[in-house]
Amino acid sequence: MSSPSKALPAWIDVGLIPLINILLAFIVSGIVIFIIGEDPVEAVKIIVYGAFGNDYNLGYTLYYTTNFIFTGLAVAVAFHASLFNIGGEGQAYIGGLGVGLLCLALDQYFPFWIILPLAIAASGLFGAAWAYIPAYLQAYRGSHIVITTIMFNFIAFSLMNYLLVNILIEPGQMSPESRDFAEVAHIPTMQQAAAWFGIEMSNTPLNMSIFLALLSCVFVWLFMWHTRWGYAIRMLGFNENAANYSGINTQRLIVGTMCLSGVLAGFVGINEIMGVHHRVLLDFTAGAGFTGIAVALMGRNHPVGIIIASLLFGALFQGGAELSFEIPTIQVEMVKAIQGLVILFCGALAYMARPTVERIFIAMIANKAVAGEQANG
């Protein structure tokens, strides 16, 4: 063991170091909480219990997780083609519009099993449509996708605002919201689904959409690493010249990849509109599209990583809400700051602890070796 090995055992890299990072984040947050005169240990307990403590809390955590998986996958897919899709928010918003329009149009006439696949298609299609224009402009006109997707987020908000206030609003209503969908256009909640199997569960927004999210993960994994299209996307992302050389139509691929990204973001609409709210409303995305960027990057653009990162963010959202509920002096903004710290330590400073851990690890191994030699000698 003379050479300092750069390769640490996997359990350290994917287990111990992230754990240290979370711990660091909580220590710093704890200091802040301590300063305002609350008990940091108590606060952490509340966050953890609030996120995972019982089926009710877990339900909310997983409900957020569902959204983040969708948007995280959306960002990741685009990233593999080295496209930075900041437009997840707008695509999710418009995806929800698609679901809403479809449900409003069909919920009087068709049963659930017809509406559901159509709604999934609608959410994807609308999300893809919203990604299509920036993608087209990037591929054929060289417009930078970061700008166009930022712009399309704003345009999505304006469009939705217009439609809700002027067209979709239920007459005589104060809220700019559509009418409620009929029961047939509701995705069963996890509570209902569990009841089919005789399991009792709390009522939370968690619904069957989470399976769509998990399916999407499997799909993205298969697609990116086990199909020729995914192969082409990754090649395009790594090296555009090589993609050209390989006979890939890069322009079409850019458009295709962004559309797939839009489809995934659009699925947020399924979870939110058909799964939870059962009507079209303002701001239902609540920043999930932006959170997806952090989720994708922290999950290293891999579905497994994205599931883990989504769970972390879901837990932060839910546990954070519980924290501000249980300890009134900790306001939502304080929770937000804690979320920022966790992202900082677990995401941006993810490699900070590594050299130290590495040193300790190597020293330990060296000690063992010395000890072994002494024992032998």
Partner: protein, 535 residues
């Protein structure tokens, strides 16, 4: 040149490396390497790809830090933590992969890090003067205001040398400097090195070309697998001995081939022209490739070879002219994609393996199916058959001696020679009717060169038409049956390989009499146009 008698050993070495070791993770790139370079001499270092030459030089230049060992400069023990330290000790280095900012002008690149004053105005003025002076002194003409990225590699390398000269280096390290140069340029570089040597500059030269070692160095060290295996006085050794020391076995230095017997025409290009941003890159190029022959394209890099390969492989769409492959005619009205070219049995080994030939972030098996990833052999209905891909890659690695034989290893982690073999394997394994090969052996050690040449000839003998583009005149001459010379996008001459000699080709490449430097600078269309040179 060369052969300058070495100073007596009592003189303090300009550089002395003692027991240098450096590991990258499990890889021991350098192990207890010793090296002495006497002042005012040129010291050659040779070794296979991955032997550790660049690593050693990077340590000397402060780019990496050695795990252990000592560096003495002019007898003084020195710690070199960064390139800054190295520069302050008078060391200059021309890196194997150029350290140039492509969006900068030549002047800016030369100045970078040696600007003098905080404001550019003054310093760029004096730098410009200094640069012009240096250019004159060493006949290294280059336009200080040219955008570096637009320059052909040969000129980019001049910039690298000028950078080192500008800093007044006392010790100059050149890592494979001649890989991209024409014989004329190489001669010129060696003239410069000669002048520098006579001024007392100590030079370390890394190269894979043994004739260069023989031509210019005073001493030569041989590295193998991270260690220094032997050292020779250049005058007292020969190419064959060096090759053997390097590879550890006998190497055939000459290409061994029979006469070609070309048969039917497989590819015919007529009047190809191509311009980009108003600059004519290809100018009315016509050529034919016949089954069973190797056609070589000689020329200073940047004279349209890249575009020719791109046009013949479908990467850049045809603007004017046509290509006929078998019975299929391709022109701007009937364009074909690179994929369709491949389907017409055209294989293509690009000039730059990192830019185009492979994806360094892919593992070997992924790089091994580039361009063929749509093939039914690797795909199910939806999913890719990764097992089949892996088996394919393993077979390629076996058949073409790619080492290490690990299909999961990242492409970037193969040495240049093995990367090249992998790309060649991918393209040759399909037995294309037409094979386009750009720079088949750039940066590749002699063992691998031997292997690659053997395979190309075997393919020719099996009835393929092969087009080889290389800046390596020797390679072109020994490999080809017919040689075309390109200059400024045109084919300016055709020579039978058996009758070709380096001087004559060199003249053609520089467009008969026109100075090479003039030739490589853009837009000098009032040169003498010699369409046909009498043999």
């Amino acid at each position: 040149m060369g052969g300058q008698s070495a100073p007596p050993p009592s003189i303090e070495p300009a550089i002395e490396l003692k027991a240098i070791s450096k590991s990258f993770g499990p890889v021991k790139a350098n192990q207890n390497v010793d090296l002495k370079v006497l002042p005012g001499t040129i010291h050659g270092i040779i070794g296979e790809n991955g032997a550790g030459k660049s690593t050693l030089m990077s340590i000397l230049y402060g780019f990496y830090e050695a795990d252990s060992g000592e560096i003495l400069i002019n007898g003084q023990k020195r710690k070199i933590h960064s390139s800054r330290d190295a520069i302050s000790f008078g060391i200059g280095m021309v890196h194997q992969h150029f350290m140039l900012v492509e969006t900068f002008t030549v002047l800016e690149n030369v100045m970078l890090g040696a600007e003098g004053a905080p404001l550019l105005n003054k310093s760029s003025q004096s730098a410009r003067e200094e640069l012009l002076k240096l250019s004159k002194e060493y006949s290294l003409a280059v336009d200080p205001d040219a955008m570096t990225g637009d320059l052909p590699v040969g000129l980019q390398q001049r910039v690298e040398i000028l950078k080192a000269l500008y800093r007044g280096a006392e010790i100059l390290i050149l890592d494979e400097p001649t890989g991209v140069l024409t014989p004329q340029e190489t001669d010129q570089l060696f003239k410069i090195l000669d002048i520098l040597r006579s001024r007392g500059v100590s030079i370390i030269l890394i190269t894979h070309k043994l004739q260069e070692i023989m031509a210019i160095t005073d001493r030569v060290s041989v590295m193998r697998a991270g260690t220094m295996v032997s050292e020779r006085e250049t005058a007292e050794t020969n190419k064959n001995e060096l090759a053997e020391l390097m590879v550890g076995r006998k190497v055939l230095l000459e290409v061994d081939k029979t006469d070609a017997n070309p048969s039917e025409i497989l590819l015919e290009a007529k009047n190809l022209s191509y311009s980009e941003d108003g600059v004519k890159k290809l100018d009315d190029v016509s050529l034919t490739l016949k089954a069973g022959e190797i056609v070589g394209i000689a020329g200073v890099s940047g004279n349209g070879q890249t575009e020719l390969l791109a046009a013949l492989s479908g990467i850049c769409p045809l603007q004017t002219g046509s290509i006929k492959i078998g019975s299929v005619k391709i022109d701007s009205d009937n364009p074909k994609t690179p994929k369709e070219f491949r389907d017409l049995s055209v294989g293509h080994v690009p000039e730059d393996r990192h830019r185009m030939g492979m994806v360094t972030a892919f593992n070997a098996q992924e790089s091994a199916i580039m361009g063929f990833h749509d093939d039914a052999a690797y795909n199910g209905k939806f999913l890719m058959d990764n097992k089949a891909v892996e088996q394919h890659c393993v077979r390629l690695m076996k058949d073409y001696d790619v080492r290490p034989e690990d299909p999961k290893l990242k492409s970037a982690n193969f040495s240049g020679g093995n990367q090249q073999k992998l790309v060649l394997a991918r393209e040759m394994d399909r037995h294309p009717k037409v094979l386009l090969v750009g720079q088949p052996t750039r940066g590749v050690d002699i063992g691998a060169i031997e292997y690659i040449h053997k395979n190309l000839i075997a393919m020719r003998d099996a009835g393929s038409a092969i087009l080889v583009v290389s800046v390596e005149l020797e390679e072109i001459m020994s490999l080809s049956d017919r040689i075309l010379v390109m200059f400024e996008g045109r084919i300016v001459g055709e020579v039978d390989a058996k009758e070709a000699d380096a001087r004559q080709l060199g003249l053609l490449m520089g467009n008969a009499g026109a100075q090479t430097e003039a030739a490589s600078s853009e837009n000098n269309s009032n040169n003498i146009h010699s369409e046909e040179i009498p043999a």
